[in-house]
Symmetry: D3
Subunit: 226 residues, 6 copies
């Protein structure tokens, strides 16, 4: 079974070795049990730092995005170097490179690919190209909420929804958390729909339970392609 | 002045050496006058042939897109090899490669970059990354029409419009020509808006008048970022 | 056992998914039985289309050949993307790249390498570099004929011959089919002779019987190095 | 005249767009006046952050160094993207890549090359390979001091010294500032000695006066090869 | 005017700095006068040493050829590093790489490309791809002789001949010097004929007179395509 | 168990197929028994020949070193092509490339990486990056001697020493053999110390007993990190 794991850049901002070790151990466990695993890392605060600096210097949007991509690759190398026994030891810089890397049977870790494209979209592309059964989006909330949980204390987690419903939540409401949008942007949704990839949104604080998340035994939102 | 030229794959389907020579001569003229020129080629019939074959064999969508991309690169090489004095002699395979190629001062010709992305989006990304003043989209109609000119004999060419108006035409109407959508998809529009790139949609049968098209002296539609 | 399979460009011109699936299944069967398989694809009609266009535009011979090579690589990618479980997911662009790709234990699929060189010669070079026991040349006739079977209804298939005899047929006769020459050009013959590689020429319409062809149980011509 | 500029990672830690713009303008000025400029960037706080995280996860020293190198490349890209008109648009990843990049006549910006090697050593190697007349080391102090200026208020800047004297200061004293050692490590000194490269150590807060620093008209230490 | 210079591997076997400096100075002179120059180096004794060793270890012919190619690249780097102001600083490893390198306007130096192919053939391919007017073959004899000058004291240099005559000399006589064959093998002749490239065979001891050789003012054989 | 083997360039100067076969067989034996093996080759006489020529032509030190590195890569390819069944079929050109190559589970063979750095240092870097348990340095003496055995007939082999003692021998004595210094230069010692890698110095004439050397059952010097 092929699983792609998207890890939010915020995960790396916490600079918490325990969480990184939990990620490492969960991946090693999955590999041991015969899963094939791909990982896509966001850029987080390192990306924002460089983008802000360059913006103040008058850089164009493409170059800003590229700085964010290089920052996400730095996060990817941090994961790669923690998994030397099982990882492909280079961070691919395009989907074509990812596909080649993947064919070697290793865990492949990548950051962004291209300006104008979120790492969420990258993870969907990667899931499609590897015929993955599942895309796990690990972020700093427990899943998809109907309302922004940071604004509304009564906001409820939606444990099961379709991509159509997800789009309605994302588009139809002002109160949607900004973080949610990051989870699956329009290109990502288009890809998971056209290739019928199931998505699970979960909290990266539960990354030590990655196997349970995959099996649907942990708190999370499961998004089925419409 | 930097100009990016998107050439529809249909241009190559016509297998007309005269048109290719017109393209070559127009590019040489622009270069001689000090323009910097980038070219993005579509995949056309060659792309469709390979995609259809692979689809019947059960290939995933990412691989189908990649076959289309490789076909568009074949068209790109046809252009490259017609311009050995002024072209960068390799077709870049990602935006990062394009940026490097561009910095050598040559005409850079590229096909697609990545699955999930039209060559129209590629041309917008390339225009943004090169700080281009203008993106010329050369296709098989004279510009943007309010209604599909193939269905309505009274359809009028819109000679000037904003990206907002273009989006309304693209989304609001069933009768919009399929070809129009190819011109500028949502990602392409997002890019030209965020980087304020002017777009001119013109007929590739007028490619010998490329300079006049750029100057706004030929039949065409000019799309300004909203 | 290592086998290199040269597939004529005409095979792809037929745009027949059934034949492509037969190729796929035969390769998967061989891999399953422990064979190592390399595949070299010709350029066919796609190559000719681009070469003709470029010739009319005045391109030099090296660039014409390169367009043919890029077309053959498109055919190679079509095969690659039909075999994601067993193929090396990049088409090598030189013999050195092929050798590296081969060492990963995968099915490696390649098109042409270099101007001035047929894909038949490429297949011989690849067979030599991989210490292959056998080079199978799959084409649109049943094997090597003494006379051109399209001109002479009494032309007989030669089921066993030496490279010396093959050269005599190729050089000594005007009536030799043009297609035959494509099978093994002088460089290809030089290579199979110096490295003593056995060649089997067979009809690609029998590709579903690839294993039988290899075992000498199908209609074909077997060419032994002199 | 060829000049290599080593910029301390601390320069980037300050996240000060004004300083980055000063660097950009100084480089543009030098280029305009006919200098060839190469830039080597340190990793700074970003490097330390990733190295610390990986060390806590048990990574080997080579991987720690590689994370620092990737961080320094991120700083290099920040500089590259601020100089699109004059820079080589890829950060070289080895001296061989640097040499190739340099031959295109552009400003080449690089981070680290290899584990076990400081970016100071990289800048010396780059200076040697480009036959540079001068290596400018821009750091957070005004030059080389006999004693650590942070401990001794009477520490004096040495405005002129030989590499032999520099080595004596670095080795013979406990009170030498840790920062000084970073300036020129043993490999860097070996290189500047064997190729007789003059080194100027200056404060990066004076980077807007880079031309004056090069001409010896600003506060700085000039180190001559022994 | 584009000129390709093939330098025999024997030139490097002599380990004569004076000859290498003569080569360097002749190339610099040509560049100064506006010529574009490409150089192809043979492998010489270094190639033979490694080939012999590997043959005794049972290596296949493709690997033997590759060792010879790597040796020829070492000779190419020796030339590259002697011309840092004007040379492309990487030795291309295929014709496609050569073409890209060439488009940068530099002197490009290459060794062999591929097993089964002489460096003479490489030089013809390179001449064709660069639309060169002339291919100069610098070797250890003064040109093409009717008989082997080492066996027959009355052997005469042929100052002008066609490729047809050259082939007759090469094929029709046993007494032809082995070295002659190295000059232009069948693939090389095929290329210079199809692209109508003039060839001059001259003694590398006259390399300081390269300009005169090119102008036909030095002892040499001029071979015109038939 | 991971073992890195550094083979002196002198080994290749002897041009002795028997020794090369002994190396091949020892490596195959180790692989068969489950060892992972990396090999670093010196440049030897081939390196010196090219360096001397280039020095006489006035090349800078970086280019001289690069010629030596390319010569060492030629030696590396000789080893690679003798081990096609188990070797990674490309010689890595940097530590990053080595790490990627290594992750494929093959025997990886490399020459030098970078100017200013001995192949001994390369072997230490490689040992560190691969978490090797052992670095075997195969040279033309039996191990480390207290005095130069070529000058003092009573010089004794030191069968066990620390890196501190090794440094004392290397630095404190004039009579130390030049060859010894080549074994482990300061960077190499720094690396083996910081990563606590055990080093065995042995005679390459005993290479057929590589397994015994590794087990400490052959004449050799064992150097433990201080």
């Amino acid at each position: 079974m092929n699983v792609i794991l998207k890890v939010s850049g915020k995960f790396f901002d916490e600079e918490d070795p325990a969480k990184l070790l939990a990620l490492k151990n969960s991946v090693l466990q999955l590999v041991k049990e015969g899963y094939r695993v791909g990982i896509v890392t966001g850029g987080g605060q390192t990306a924002r730092k460089y983008i802000n600096l360059a913006r103040k210097m008058g850089s164009n949007e493409a170059f800003l995005d590229l700085l964010g991509i290089w920052a996400s690759r730095l996060n990817a190398y941090l994961v790669v170097f923690s998994l030397p026994e099982v990882a492909y030891m280079k961070v691919p810089e395009s989907l074509e490179e990812f596909i080649q890397a993947w064919s070697h049977g290793k865990v492949v870790v990548t950051g962004g690919f291209q300006p104008g494209q979120s790492t969420a979209a990258v993870s969907a592309l990667v899931a499609e190209a590897t015929n993955a059964d599942l895309l796990v989006v690990a972020t700093n909330v427990d899943g998809v909420y109907e309302k922004d949980p940071r604004l509304y204390s009564d906001a409820k987690l939606v444990s099961r929804l379709t991509t159509t419903e997800l789009k309605r939540i994302l588009e139809g409401s002002q109160s949607v958390s900004a973080g949610t949008y990051e989870l699956l942007d329009p290109l990502a949704i288009k890809i998971v729909e056209r290739s019928r990839i199931r998505v699970i949104v979960a909290n990266y604080n539960r990354i030590s339970k990655l196997k349970e998340i995959i099996k649907g035994e942990e708190v999370a939102s499961i998004v089925e392609p419409a």
